[in-house]
């Protein structure tokens, strides 16, 4: 009936997501902390790519997680918990972008450059080319209309499907598909010299 290999006490990190969500909804802060730690990397990645810099992304993540704690009682489990969190972060990012002056470039290019370079090329020349291309892509991403940028990031960089993205941004799949396609076309045009 019992296994010798079984952990004696289940810690929050051992627990399945639904158990953690129910516990957090009943006021268990440690369960919420485990959920926050489990999802923070994906949420931060989304925020950096939408906002274009790490500092604003940290603030957005922090505010979004606090918001999630305050509203966790309203999570009904109709969608995945990760989708619900993505939605909160997305709304926080869009709110920040809407408040920023439209004439100010959203991405700080020096910081966009800072996040470049996970993949190392075979030669220094190719690496320099790759870095320049990535910086150009980050800059072009920052110039996209906000809604297009969010949909593109969720699809192409986070790998979500159209249904999940529609759920996150609160619109229909047709609109999501259109936004992603327009973003792709714009970016492909900008990136042609790097092909």
């Amino acid at each position: 009936m019992t296994s010798a290999a079984a952990p004696v006490v289940a810690t929050p990190t051992d627990l399945d997501e639904q158990t953690l969500v129910v516990r957090a909804q009943e006021g268990d802060v440690r369960a919420f902390e485990a959920l926050a730690r489990r999802h923070q990397v994906a949420l931060y990645r989304l925020a950096v790519r939408v906002l274009g810099n790490r500092s604003d992304a940290e603030d957005a993540l922090q505010d979004a997680l606090l918001d999630a704690w305050r509203r966790i009682g309203s999570f009904r489990g109709d969608a995945a918990f990760s989708t619900w969190l993505y939605r909160i972060v997305t709304n926080r990012c869009l709110g920040l972008l809407r408040r920023s002056r439209p004439t100010t470039p959203v991405a700080d290019l020096s910081e966009a450059g800072d996040v470049v370079g996970a993949t190392r090329a075979a030669s220094p020349e190719r690496q320099a080319e790759l870095d320049a291309g990535m910086t150009a892509l980050a800059a072009a991403l920052a110039e996209l209309p906000h809604d297009q940028r969010v949909c593109f990031v969720l699809r192409e960089l986070e790998g979500l499907d159209y249904t999940e993205i529609a759920e996150i941004v609160g619109t229909g799949e047709t609109t999501v598909r259109g936004r992603i396609h327009r973003a792709r076309k714009t970016l492909a045009e900008v990136m042609r010299p790097w092909r």
């Binding site: 399945d16 931060y44 809604d147 396609h181």
Partner: protein
């Protein structure tokens, strides 16, 4: 041939009309986004492989895909302090929501229901093959107005293969004892519902569901 999809009123309401239009068709009549998706997934059909219009769209897709792949591969990790700050703020603003009255000869005393639930969940988590999920504790008034014995309603998940009857009986005994000894509250009723099963090593992100 794919038809140009029409937008529902929900899709156009309150959004920029430029940004809600359907995806255009290529000169050959194919849906441009569909061709792009096929190119990215490596599932172009015969027409798409031979058609110059589809070929141009597919070339754009592949060109962008390579650079986007590099961008997606970047490691972006938030500083540890972000969650620490969030938890600090949560704890600072924490207020007892539900209180369980305690029997005390020295005046009114009460226990935070969330803290009491955490104690009982800990008792279940320490048992091999069981994990507590929901734990609700109430203490209805007895005739005469004094708080009566507590009633506990728990949902638990069990390791696949455990003997549910004997294990839940043991959970009940442990909860009865912990109520009395750890919380100082007599427990008259413990309802236990097994709502899911887990397998060791696969329990950290299961889809959940009832059983």
């Amino acid at each position: 041939m794919a038809l140009t999809p029409r937008l529902t009123p929900e899709e156009t309401r309150g959004t920029d009309p430029v940004d809600t239009g359907p995806v255009e068709l290529l000169a050959c009549g194919r849906d441009a986004a569909e061709v792009w998706d096929h190119a990215a997934a490596g599932t172009l059909d015969e027409h798409e492989r031979d058609c110059p219009h589809c070929g141009a769209a597919a070339a754009d897709a592949r060109g962008l895909e390579e650079m986007v792949g590099h961008l997606a591969g970047q490691s972006l990790v938030p500083p540890e302090t972000v969650v620490d700050r969030v938890v600090g703020a949560v704890l600072a603003e924490l207020r007892p929501r539900d209180l369980i009255p305690l029997d005390s000869p020295h005046g009114p005393a009460a226990l935070d229901a969330a803290a009491a639930a955490a104690v009982l969940r800990g008792v279940v988590d320490a048992m091999a093959g069981m994990r507590a999920r929901s734990c609700r504790i109430t203490r209805p008034s007895a005739p005469g107005g004094a708080p009566g014995p507590a009633e506990v309603a728990m949902t638990v998940t069990a390791r696949f293969g455990v003997d549910l009857a004997s294990t839940t009986a043991r959970v009940r005994q442990m909860v009865l004892a912990a109520g009395e000894q750890a919380l100082g509250v007599p427990v008259a009723r413990v309802d236990i519902e097994v709502v899911d099963v887990f397998v060791d090593g696969a329990g950290t992100d299961g889809p959940g569901g009832s059983s």
